[in-house]
């Protein structure tokens, strides 16, 4: 059905005075938010890079080229990103083949193990890996006991970062590539077999081509993750392997103008690289996905590996990966019940197990405050961003194709193109002094700044998901409500919003989950007296060698995070909930 485009002025003329006032207030809020919190800070960042003493200058790039640390960080990032794409690609594809394509015994258990990265990631995961693999780590000690000449300081630098990130970045594969694998029409596999194709030929010529578009997309996302790596290089990179983001953080923490300009320049390079990669990804997405053309699509049937030697090797590989994924989770859970002395010695003694560490979290202000701060920030940001995007999507839906709707949509998608470090830095540089568009109040070291950052960074994801839900709505529902005499506001409140609510709630839950242990943005924007969980875990992890109490607290945080994430993911994707998320 053709939708009639009604010009904005005509629609405004048809509104009641109350509706018009509400519309004007909302329009003013959106224009102010987009301009003051997104566009002007980015322009200010560009000014920091390109304007010196009131003139256009490229001196910040010259300064950058003369800074050995910065150049090394750039080089490291561009080494890490491609190698990470390869290692994550290899592991990620094998996880999907093991759990979805080949008949591997215990696939359901293996899948659960491989999916632990969905509930356990970022700074918490790096902290757990450090506890296990670092000098004096549980596994390092175990190996050193067997091989006395084993280098106990092996877990530092490039290889350590690559190792941690390889196993922490397979979440996209377990979501997107797995979905693509499930979309393979088994009749095409049977047809190939019927024509005499071998298992390898079927995999190479029939199955993998269907996965290719998703594979390209997740590879690019991994490349971007590698470029923007923050907590892994910070915690296990050591002096020799620092990447762009930790370097931006270090420069940003310095007080000199030239250091800030270096940070801005680095973030701009990171932003430019991200934009190029996302442009490539969009071009790939536009080529579309392979759609099954069968009238009756058949679910894939797991393939037995015919060669017994290969079969054993695949099973061995599958369980080795399972151990790598699961060991940190199990040890963190177990050690979270252990006492300080045993944590210090990296020894498990079940007789010493207690809930003392959990009790301390509840009783000590310094322990529960970061947890509370993160919960409040994440919840507030999830609600605000959800509300803003629902209102924006409603406007975009009603005014589809008009200039104002297109401008609003593109503006809210700006943060998708920019790494969160760049957004954080732009906010930090813009609001370290009073700005008229922020009512002449500096926002640095205030509680609001991090909230603004969180809202901005979650806009694109929320926008994509919510817009998809809006546009998959049956237009007839709205027509039916109008036909029964309902006004636009009543229709939205009673008919449209209740239909969208499960999606809005699911997206809010995922946003809440994603922000809970955020480090990349928090480290730039958090209030000094109110560190977030990510910041706290990072500082506790750095003290790992000195304070066993801190380590115990980190484990308690990690366990609670895992529980919260698991509940959120179950509510969103579990029983019947997966229909809420469509893109």
């Amino acid at each position: 059905m053709n939708l009639v485009k009604v010009p904005l002025l005509t629609r405004m003329r048809r509104m009641t005075p109350g509706q018009l006032l509400l519309f004007c207030i909302m329009a003013a809020v959106f224009i102010w938010f987009i301009t003051a919190c997104m566009v002007l800070p980015i322009l200010n960042l560009l000014k920091t890079v390109f304007i010196e003493n009131g003139k256009i200058s490229l001196s910040s790039f010259q300064k950058l080229s003369k800074s050995p640390r910065a150049m090394k960080a750039l080089k490291n990032s561009f080494i890490l990103a491609p190698t990470l794409s390869l290692t994550v690609g290899f592991v990620g594809i094998s996880l999907v083949l093991i759990t979805e394509y080949f008949d591997v015994k215990g696939a359901a258990i293996l899948r659960l193990g491989y999916m632990t990265t969905l509930i356990y990631g970022g700074v918490t995961l790096v902290s757990g890996y450090k506890f296990i693999y670092s000098n004096n780590g549980v596994l390092t000690n175990f190996i050193a006991n067997i091989f006395p000449h084993f280098n106990k300081t092996w877990f530092t630098g490039y290889w350590a970062v690559l190792f941690v990130m390889t196993f922490s970045c397979t979440s996209n594969h377990m979501i997107f590539l797995r979905n693509a694998m499930r979309a393979v029409d088994f009749q095409t596999v049977e047809a190939a077999r019927n024509m005499g194709a071998s298992q390898w030929t079927i995999l190479r010529r029939v199955v993998l081509p269907v996965l290719l578009p998703s594979l390209f997309a997740v590879t690019i996302l991994t490349f971007i993750t590698g470029l923007c790596a923050m907590s892994a290089p910070l915690l296990v990179g050591g002096k020799d392997f620092q990447t762009i983001n930790p370097m931006i953080q270090q420069f940003a923490e310095m007080t000199t103008t030239s250091a800030k300009s270096l940070a801005a320049t680095l973030s701009l390079i990171l932003g430019a690289a991200t934009m190029i990669l996302l442009a490539i990804m969009t071009a790939i997405e536009r080529r579309g996905h392979y759609m099954s053309v069968s009238k009756v699509k058949t679910k894939i049937v797991k393939q037995k590996i015919n060669n017994p030697v290969v079969n054993i090797l695949v099973h061995f590989y599958a369980y080795a990966l399972f151990v790598i994924y699961v060991i940190p989770v199990i040890l963190i859970v177990l050690f979270s019940f252990s006492d300080s002395a045993h944590i210090q010695q990296r020894q498990l003694d079940f007789s010493t197990f207690s809930l003392k560490n959990y009790g301390e979290l509840l009783s000590k202000t310094t322990a529960y405050k970061p947890f509370l701060v993160s919960i409040i920030y994440s919840a507030l940001a999830a609600v605000i961003v959800g509300l803003l995007v629902v209102l924006a999507c409603r406007y975009i839906q009603k005014s589809k194709g008009t200039f104002s709707a297109t401008a609003l949509e593109y503006s809210l998608m700006i943060p998708w193109l920019l790494p969160s470090t760049m957004i954080a830095l732009s906010l930090m540089l813009a609001f370290n002094q009073p700005r008229w568009y922020m009512f002449n109040k500096p926002l640095i070291a205030t509680l609001q700044l991090l909230l603004i950052g969180y809202v901005i960074v979650k806009l694109p994801f929320t926008m994509r998901m919510t817009k998809a839900a809006f546009f998959s709505l049956d237009n007839a529902l709205e027509d039916a409500a109008k036909n029964l005499g309902a006004s636009e506001v009543y229709t939205f409140r009673r008919v449209i919003f209740p239909v969208l609510l499960p999606t809005v709630m699911a997206v809010a839950a995922l946003n809440f989950n994603g922000l809970l242990t955020d480090y990349d943005m928090s480290v730039f924007l958090h209030h000094p007296a109110n560190p977030t969980l990510g910041v706290k875990i990072k500082s506790l992890t750095e003290e790992m060698g000195n304070s066993s109490d801190g380590v115990a607290l980190t484990f308690v945080y990690a366990v609670l995070m895992m529980i919260i994430s698991a509940i959120v993911l179950y509510l969103v994707y579990g029983r019947g909930g997966k229909d809420n998320i469509k893109e």
Partner: protein, 335 residues
């Protein structure tokens, strides 16, 4: 009751409707029939107010409602997929329009239950979510929701198109009964000619944004005014020149062989000497058994003609059987 005067609807450069003039009388079951994209739904949406015409007027009971917003028209509508609100119960769906009008709770309850009774929905079904109902029950909810507000007119936009064949026939009958029971002026949109012929008092056949013919089902079927209507309604044979020339030779008619001459399947008689003035020798080249009737393909004068014969056990012709075919020139439709 409803008058559409010179309605024109444009979407940008595209003219969706042109010169639409329709008069629907009170209590009539009026059907808009035509292929996809012909403008029938656009006309319906113009009546309900979802589309404002670029030209022309929409009158209901003599009042011009062309610019009256949809929510103030008091025209009930049943949508193609019923558009039942999925988050509400059946009761809430039916009560929706009454709540919008701020009818008091007791009256809402009474009217919802009354209407549910009329469309044969039980009290238990009223409490269910709409997704828990069958296709037929959903249709009844959609009708109840539209009728509970006492509209002057009810519009139905292909309400049977998403159902399987058996249910479609069953609900078609229910729909006809319900319309008779409520006596409400009904405007119905369909692309299914059988549905239009069985349900309607009057049919408007649409094509490419124009109306080809308005008439009773019999007028539309037996006296199609245009070649499009004749082809669109029912199955038909177009006679080629040799048959037309032979027809002229056998009768006193002077049919123009250059014109397009059509005959319906049931007007071709096989081995029935009493029927028809012109006789031809034919051969059976195919047959399809339908139970109530048999459909034959006959080779006549080098042309394949389709015809149907009542299955009364009198004859069942096999492939290559030779037959006598009779045609009455009065049954021909010429364009």
């Amino acid at each position: 009751m409803i008058r559409l005067n010179d309605i024109e609807v444009r979407f940008g450069d595209f003219t969706a409707l042109k010169d639409i003039n329709i008069h629907v009388e009170e209590g009539q079951f009026y059907t808009f029939l035509g292929p996809s994209g012909c403008g029938k739904t656009t006309t319906l949406r113009t009546i309900t107010g979802f589309i404002e015409p670029s030209k022309g007027t929409v009158m209901v009971k003599g009042k011009d409602i062309t610019h009256v917003p949809v929510e103030r028209r008091n025209i009930g509508m049943v949508f193609q997929n019923y558009a039942l609100f999925p988050t509400m119960s059946v009761y809430e769906n039916i009560a929706f329009g009454l709540r919008v009008k701020k009818v008091n709770k007791t009256d809402i309850d009474r009217r919802v239950k009354e209407m549910a009774g009329k469309v044969e929905l039980t009290e238990q079904q009223l409490m269910r979510k709409v997704a828990e109902l069958s296709g037929g029950q959903q249709q009844r909810v959609a009708i109840a929701r539209a009728l509970v507000n006492n509209p002057e007119i009810i519009c139905l936009d292909e309400p049977l198109s998403n159902l399987d064949a058996k249910l479609r026939v069953q609900l078609r009958e229910e729909l006809k009964e319900m319309q008779a029971k409520f006596g409400i002026t009904t405007v119905y949109v369909t692309h299914d000619q059988e549905e239009a012929l069985t349900l309607s008092d009057c049919i408007a056949v649409f094509n490419k944004g124009f109306i080809e013919q308005i008439g009773t089902p019999n007028e539309i079927y037996s006296h199609s005014k245009t070649e499009f209507v004749c082809n669109f309604i029912g199955d038909i044979n177009r006679l080629e020149k040799p048959i037309v020339i032979s027809l002229n030779a056998q009768t006193d008619r002077n049919l123009d062989p250059e014109k397009h001459t059509y005959i319906r399947l049931e007007d071709i008689h096989v081995n029935n000497t009493s029927a028809g003035q012109a006789k031809f020798r034919g051969k059976v080249v195919g047959n399809e058994y339908f139970g109530l009737y048999i459909k034959y393909q006959l080779e006549v004068e080098g042309q394949i003609l389709k015809c149907i014969d009542k299955n009364d056990g009198r004859q069942y012709l096999k492939k290559d059987d030779l037959v006598e075919v009779s045609i009455n020139p009065d049954d021909l439709m010429i364009y």
